[in-house]
């Protein structure tokens, strides 16, 4: 079923200058001794839409965490937005995170705060003036189709709406890259497709999207580069196209 869904094109023509993320022989070993990633080499171009797939424990989430400085490589090379992640300073990691939108499977929304407060938080972290916050938040909420929920609390929203709020929070600072860790994991198929539509739309506006997912059936309608991991190793790097 999976193979039928994919149009496999293994060639990735990309110039070094366009790469937003580059890694060479990347290895990650946890303090417990477990090797999460081993010998991973690949590059992610600006403006691409990348699916990270693999079984549970394959290293998808670990790889995503390394992209925002949550984990540091044990060995090998990893460069994210021109920062060498092995030697990057704390200040640079903060700057990198300010230039990265992150979407979590469990949303990580603050349930004691309004939708506005949740979405405005990244802007506040970046020092935006208060009078600019509401128009900006309203604009991104309209983009995700929840323009009327500015002053609602997340608990009053459905799972799909909460995930759209999480997308709005990730995109509100207009970052060059969005990392999404199984954003459709807890959603029904229709809602998952709508969430993916939003991510595709962001990608069409030039944002690089890297999304860890199990929902491979979504690739039929939403094409992108498919990176497959298995037990911490890269086992596939292909392109999935629509209509397969």
């Amino acid at each position: 079923m999976l193979t039928a869904a994919l149009l496999t094109v293994t060639v990735f023509p990309m110039s070094e200058s366009e790469s937003l993320i580059k890694m060479q022989q990347l290895m990650l070993r946890y303090p417990t001794g477990k090797v999460a990633l081993s010998g991973v080499s690949l590059a992610v171009n600006k403006g691409s839409f990348v699916y990270l797939t693999g079984e549970s424990g394959a290293g998808k989430s670990s790889l995503l965490r390394m992209f925002y400085g949550g984990l540091r490589p044990t060995s090998g090379q990893l460069s994210v937005q021109q920062w060498d992640m092995r030697s990057v300073s704390e200040g640079d990691v903060r700057e990198l995170r300010q230039r990265t939108g992150i979407i979590f499977q469990d949303h990580k929304l603050l349930f004691s705060r309004t939708v506005f407060e949740n979405i405005a938080l990244p802007l506040r972290v970046q020092g935006w003036e208060k009078d600019r916050l509401v128009p900006r938040v309203r604009k991104v909420l309209e983009f995700v189709g929840l323009g009327d929920r500015l002053w609602s609390y997340p608990e009053a929203l459905s799972g799909g709406e909460q995930q759209r709020i999480a997308i709005a929070r990730a995109m509100v600072t207009n970052p060059p890259i969005i990392l999404a860790d199984e954003p459709t994991g807890n959603l029904d198929e229709d809602t998952a497709r709508r969430v993916l539509d939003l991510l595709m739309s962001l990608n069409n506006h030039g944002t690089t999207v890297i999304m860890a997912t199990h929902d491979l059936h979504l690739l039929t309608s939403h094409p992108g580069r498919l990176i497959q991991l298995h037990q911490g190793s890269l086992v596939g790097d292909s392109y999935s196209g629509a209509g397969g």
Partner: protein, 293 residues
């Protein structure tokens, strides 16, 4: 921004200089810190009154040695002997004119002539003490005075002893202040730790969004400072009923308590202790995916 926000909405964005909402934990900590500060305020107010009572607002302790008029010839010798004692800074002869002026002032608007009385007074030597650490100081003064037939003003000796006792009490008060301050800091710290646990997701999220550490910690430091200074103001206000309650007694013995003198020390101390508690609470504020993880 105001025009875009409905009237009933009050957005409170976490981080930076935004004070977090005030809850039951903070209220309880405020009460406990207030009681502790009120106790300290009471101790220091009591010391203030006691110091007034023994006259220790003076920089040095003085006492008087009297020599009968018929022994005036020994005055110079007594002066020299007293001056040579360890712990005596200086000895001053009080002239009869000076005594008469003091007595006239003491008599007030009476028609009595103080000069007449002063002629009946014994010779008077005023001793300024440099230190009261010498164990036999007062005995030595008494012995020297007695050798020439003189006497010591024993009321002043008692005052000097009271002054000495007050010094010890003051040292104890400083010690108690330090201990209670540390206890208050721990109370504030524990309160903030509970709040930190409740807001762990918020802290984690702020760090994931690239917030600087000061931005993450500042609300808690502010909260500690506000909690401490709020408790201090409340404690200071609660000192007033105490002052009014004892005013009948203190007025009778010539003590004029000044709670205003305690406002700034309590406020500064409360804020400092609150900040200290917050710094202790946030010292190990670890999140998953921390920068240094």
């Amino acid at each position: 921004m105001n025009s875009d926000i409905p009237d009933q909405i009050d957005p409170r964005l976490p981080g930076g200089f935004q004070l977090p909402p005030f809850g039951i934990h903070q209220f309880l900590a405020l009460i406990i810190v207030c009681v502790a500060l009120w106790s300290l305020g009471t101790v220091w107010l009591g010391l203030q009154g006691a110091q007034q009572w023994v006259g220790s607002w003076q920089e040095s302790v003085r006492l008087h040695v009297y020599l009968p008029i018929e022994k005036s010839g020994d005055l110079k010798k007594l002066n020299e002997r007293l001056s040579s004692l360890e712990g005596v800074a200086s000895v001053k002869l009080i002239s009869r004119e000076e005594a008469a002026i003091w007595m006239q002032g003491w008599l007030g608007d009476t028609s009595l002539n103080a000069a007449e009385f002063s002629r009946q007074l014994p010779e008077s030597l005023e001793l300024t003490l440099s230190s009261m650490e010498h164990e036999f100081l007062f005995s030595d003064i008494r012995d020297e005075a007695a050798r020439f037939g003189g006497t010591v003003n024993e009321d002043e000796v008692q005052m000097a002893h009271a002054h000495e006792l007050l010094q010890s009490i003051q040292n104890l008060a400083w010690f108690a202040t330090l201990i209670i301050a540390l206890a208050m800091a721990m109370i504030v710290s524990n309160t903030l730790r509970m709040i930190l646990l409740a807001r762990a997701d918020e802290v984690h999220l702020m760090r994931l969004l690239g917030a600087k550490e000061w931005f993450v910690r500042m609300p808690f430091i502010l909260e500690g400072a506000v909690l401490g200074s709020g408790a201090a103001i409340l404690a200071w206000i609660l000192l007033w009923p105490l002052v009014f309650g004892v005013s009948g007694w203190t007025d009778g013995i010539g003590i004029d308590l000044h709670p205003f003198a305690l406002l700034l020390p309590l406020l500064a101390g409360g804020a400092l202790v609150g900040c200290l508690g917050a710094v202790i609470a946030t010292a190990r504020l670890v999140s998953p995916d921390s920068v240094d993880a």
